[in-house]
């Protein structure tokens, strides 16, 4: 089977721009969840989240007319391509997989609010041109010269992870030697209001796997990786961050917003990824958990992990406790975190974890990062619609 490596990384996160900045934040256990400023939170239960700071957004280049999400995506994608040091010829044959949900909704909301409240046409109607999630891929392919197969994957909170899984399949099928894969979501009022309405947001920064966890914290980010056929990367002298060993994708077909209580769908995704990777559960030293901080998700995910690995048999932690739940970007943000964890031999902590839930029979690396020699790691992403995606990376 064709071996596929990760040869480029790019992230814009609530910590700022760049994979290095992202890793520094994770390794230090810095929680970036704060009062939100980009949207009006007056009257809502939860008023916090992890947003990309305004000065960081302002530094993302001259195209301030672009949608917030497009700007995040472009910056992260540019970093990943530069990190991989791809030639224009390589870029021209690169596939592009973008996981997205909100599209340019942040700007479209502003337009819609204005028209509805004033009853008059708003000059901001141009915002509608980038409202669809597929606009991100069109913008990236045009601006970055990516002419291989292009796909916009909408799989709720598993979108970013799915983009990597499908990119892996594309390369293994021989349709392209490399692909830029990742996810992006900017904050939107619809998302913030929706999770508030579902009462799934914690009033304080989220505490995944904690006995007293009360819900999640929303966030925004973009993260992209360059996936590449190992032989292609070697021939051009490219840098290898990690090997992408395998991926599993399953559906609960149980409930639109609740995971299957017996965790069958999650277990199948994890086992499928391990089988594809040719690894046994004992080969995995760390799981970057989906770990949202909602009572239900964390309990069911812990059950899935216990069924596959055995209680206490693997380290787990949640990146969402540090940078919030970045929605469609989360799977790719956490894929980058997983690759960096492997590289550095340091497991980022679960922030705000004071007392681990007895239903979570694992060491969740509370508060402080831990040095561990790792050969392979697994990253989980689950989403609305019972979408389960698991990824396995190796050194």
């Amino acid at each position: 089977m064709t071996r596929v490596v990760v040869s480029g990384l790019g992230v814009v996160s609530p910590y700022g721009t760049g994979a290095k900045t992202f890793w520094t934040g994770l390794a230090n256990g810095t929680c970036a969840i704060r009062p939100l400023t980009a949207i009006d939170t007056e009257g809502f239960r939860s008023r916090i989240g992890a947003e990309v700071p305004a000065d960081v957004l302002a530094s993302l280049g001259p195209s301030r007319r672009r949608a917030r999400a497009d700007r995040l995506a472009l910056a992260a994608a540019r970093e990943a391509l530069a990190d991989a040091d791809l030639s224009p010829t390589d870029r021209a044959c690169a596939g592009l997989f973008v996981g997205a949900v909100g599209g340019g909704m942040f700007e479209a909301e502003t337009w819609y609010w204005e028209e509805t409240r004033t009853g008059r046409p708003s000059p901001r109607i141009g915002a509608l041109r980038s409202i669809l999630p597929s606009t991100h891929a069109e913008t990236l392919s045009f601006r970055l010269g990516l002419c291989g197969p292009k796909e916009t994957v909408v799989m709720a909170c598993a979108s970013g992870a799915a983009s990597l899984a499908l990119g892996l399949d594309l390369i293994r099928s021989g349709a392209a030697p490399l692909a830029l894969c990742g996810g992006v979501d900017a904050l939107t009022r619809v998302c913030f209001m929706g999770f508030n309405a579902l009462r799934l947001l914690d009033l304080e920064p989220c505490r995944p796997f904690d006995r007293d966890r009360k819900g999640m914290s929303i966030g925004e980010a973009a993260a992209f990786v360059v996936l590449e056929e190992a032989a292609h990367c070697r021939e051009r002298g490219g840098r290898v961050h990690a090997e992408f060993l395998g991926a599993g994708m399953t559906t609960d077909a149980h409930h639109v917003t609740s995971p299957e209580p017996n965790a069958d769908g999650m277990v199948r995704a994890i086992e499928e990824a391990l089988t594809a990777a040719g690894r046994a559960p004992g080969d995995i030293g760390y799981v970057n958990a989906h770990g949202t901080g909602t009572p239900q998700n964390d309990r069911v995910e812990a059950l899935a992990l216990a069924r596959v690995f055995g209680p206490g048999r693997v380290l787990i932690s949640s990146t969402k406790s540090l940078v919030g739940h970045t929605m469609a970007a989360a799977g790719s943000v956490e894929a980058v975190a997983s690759v960096l964890t492997l590289q550095h031999g340091l497991v980022p902590p679960t922030a705000n974890l004071r007392a681990t839930d007895p239903d979570v029979p694992f060491d969740c690396v509370p508060e402080t990062a831990r040095a561990v020699e790792l050969e392979a790691v697994l990253s989980n992403s689950f989403g609305f619609g019972g979408q389960n995606v698991s990824l396995v990376f190796g050194r």
Binding site: Y112, R129, A156, L170
Partner: protein, 381 residues
């Protein structure tokens, strides 16, 4: 993953302005000459530049969904579930972990997004409905359909203008070929919504805004002057050949190859004729080891958008493929149309209406922004 598999079409289900049903109904609907495009009834188009559309009569969905589901689901979810159910019943494919689902859509459930936001704008935070919010995520149609048909394999929603259905079927063929599922229900869905219709009309996307002449959908014609919207859901069951044979399924056609690609152009644009050095049509032919001359029929995605129609004609001519025929003038532009084109190609091959035993059918798609798809359809193996 196991070795590449051969992919066949074993079921069809369609809900469109042309009619509703499984493969026999789709065959009948495609054979009819009359177009269901007429003045829109669902919302008032007075004062807007456009007034035509191809609407699905909601009453026709009665009997396809149980009353509880019909009440609980948004309209686009009802269309999706009906289309998927028809395809699964037509195929007889069993539910389970080996069954996947791919849904292509251009606009998703905007109706629910609008309803959700309107609740807030009228009544503040207390006006927000937690029941509606999940529908605002574009994979909501796949979420409910997966439950209805028991698809527990991979479930993927792809967002794409113009060729969402084509891309979904190509994606599904790849999932079967690569061993991620033994069978995948794949197609597309969109619904007409007043807000979207009005904006597209005012932006000059819909006929007759893009040129002179009467309003209407005239793909590839000299007087094409814009798109006419349609709505509906069409889904196919794609299946591993050996698996389909083992369970004695009716095999309508084989998808010999599927490819998709991208021309690097600015978002939403359709620049005039350009070379495509990575033509998915040619890649699909090479993958199946056949020459362009073996292709007897080409279904194109032409939708009356003058720039897009002309671009597609130029690209197909450069690839030495036959002049395309379009179904858009019959059903209006919507996400389900790509799957309907593949259904038409599969039924052509099954019926032997392609004029040569060796003749193949290409289903070609091209969207503004550069997404290009190609599926090569052959007789049942």
């Amino acid at each position: 993953m196991s070795a590449p598999r051969r992919v066949v079409v074993t079921g069809m289900g369609s809900v469109s302005a042309g009619g509703i049903g499984g493969s026999a109904a789709v065959d009948r609907i495609l054979a009819e000459a009359a177009s269901p495009i007429r003045p829109v009834l669902a919302f008032d188009t007075a004062g807007w530049p456009s007034r035509l559309g191809a609407e699905v009569d909601d009453a026709a969905l009665e009997g396809l969904l149980d009353p509880a589901a019909a009440r609980r689901l948004s309209r686009i979810c009802r269309l999706t579930v009906a289309g998927c159910r028809l395809a699964v019943e037509d195929s007889g494919v069993p539910p389970g972990p080996a069954l996947g689902l791919v849904v292509g859509t251009e606009h998703g459930d905007f109706r629910s997004s609008e309803e959700f936001v309107t609740g807030y704008l009228k009544r503040g935070p207390s006006g927000l409905s937690p029941m509606i919010f999940p529908n605002t995520v574009m994979n909501s149609m796949a979420a409910v359909a997966a439950i209805e048909i028991g698809a527990r394999g991979p479930s993927v929603t792809v967002n794409q203008a113009t060729v969402a259905g084509d891309l979904a079927v190509a994606r599904a063929a790849a999932l079967v070929r690569d061993g991620r599922a033994l069978a995948v229900v794949a197609g597309g869905v969109d619904e007409m919504l007043g807000q979207v219709y009005r904006r597209l009309s005012e932006m000059g996307v819909l006929s007759p805004a893009a040129g002179r002449g009467p309003e209407g959908c005239r793909p590839y014609e000299p007087d094409h002057n814009g798109v006419v919207l349609g709505e509906g859901a069409t889904f196919l069951v794609l299946e591993d050949l050996e698996s389909a044979r083992a369970r004695g399924a009716v095999i309508h056609a084989e998808i010999r190859s599927a490819a998709w690609g991208n021309l690097c152009v600015a978002p939403h644009t359709a620049p005039p004729r350009r070379r495509d050095p990575h033509s998915p049509a040619l890649r699909a032919l090479v993958s199946a080891a056949v020459a362009p001359s073996a292709v007897r029929t080409c279904y194109g995605s032409g939708n009356g958008d003058p720039a897009l129609d002309d671009w597609e004609l130029g690209l197909l001519a450069a690839d030495r493929l036959p002049a395309p025929v379009s179904l858009t003038s019959r059903f209006g532009q919507h996400g389900g149309l790509g799957a309907l084109r593949v259904a038409a190609a599969a039924l052509d091959r099954a019926r032997g209406t392609v004029p040569s035993a060796t003749g193949l059918v290409v289903v070609h798609g091209l969207a503004r922004g550069g997404c290009r798809t190609a599926l090569l359809i052959d007789r049942a193996a």
